[in-house]
Symmetry: C2
Subunit: 183 residues, 2 copies
């Protein structure tokens, strides 16, 4: 046991929903004291930085109930039970945008809110996009506006806080870095 | 009402804890159908990319109960009620690292998990660090190992997935971008 580890004494399951579940864990701290941790369990997610042949970034405008507003994000979605992340990325890209892709490459995975949630996002970059004729349909409770932005347009939306979430901010900065490295 | 908006019909409060609260909202979708949204309310947080005079990045190794492991992160912490984010960033930097700073500049704010949570992180960059003699103490349930990493070391830990969260990945990439732009 590392010096920082917190040992679980008791787990109280509070809620189990269709997306997340919540439990409160009583833990023993490294100094022997007792504390509580509120923890959200999430199935994990994928996000896709999809670039058209004209180097436009495929984005979706979507209402986010947690924020009570629409924001512009790269396509993303939750992993289904035992689903391979790359397969999930291809599925979500097709469902949300109608695009298939010839190339899909893993970029990075990160936890979004390690202080209270185990959600991980696996970020992929997709190239060689082609519209599918009979594309998979979005989830029945999912409504999005499709957009295809230049990097400059994405930077503008980021400044205006219409692009406003961690995975999309990371993806835009990734493209800024690639551009700077190639100049 | 925009075409994408989801109107709340009913809110069921499930849990209210010391960090997060959970509610389930029954919503009317843009097509008139009814669905449910599971929503976590969070007070918001700050994170600090703090650079020493030798350009080392101040990081903290911390056990994250949600992940059941330690990860290496930039210093961060929750906003207190009505707390100004910049004041919070200075407080958290001092509590977690013992450092005060001469310069604190806002870089970006982003939502971490817009699909289910309203948590926002305000990211600052701090320079002109100086150790405080009687620094504020960390929260009583907070145990961290202080580290000061070169960019190359941070890139190494990122590859090894010891740095593994969105805000820290964003901060490391920010430094990579600044380096590329200045070359």
């Amino acid at each position: 046991m590392s010096r920082l580890e917190e040992k679980t004494i008791k787990t109280e399951k509070i809620f189990s929903g269709k997306v997340i579940s919540l439990q409160v864990e009583e833990v023993e701290l490294p100094n022997g004291n007792i504390s509580k941790r509120e923890i959200i369990k999430h199935p994990g997610a994928v996000a896709i930085l999809a670039l058209t042949d004209e180097n436009r970034i495929v984005m979706v405008e979507q209402y986010r109930k947690a924020l009570e507003r629409t924001i512009i994000e790269i396509p993303a979605g939750k992993l289904e039970l035992n689903e391979d992340p790359e397969a999930c990325a291809k599925r979500e890209l097709e469902e949300e945008t109608g695009y298939g892709c010839k190339e899909m490459e893993w970029l990075i995975s990160f936890y979004t809110s390690p202080g209270f949630a185990d959600e991980i996002v696996h970020l992929y970059i997709a190239r060689g996009l082609e519209k599918k004729e009979n594309a998979l349909a979005p989830d029945e409770d999912e409504f999005v506006n499709l957009m295809e932005l230049t990097l400059e347009e994405a930077e503008h939306y980021l400044k205006e806080q219409k692009i406003y979430d961690a995975k999309t901010a990371y993806a835009v900065q990734y493209l800024q870095l690639q551009k700077a490295l190639n100049q």
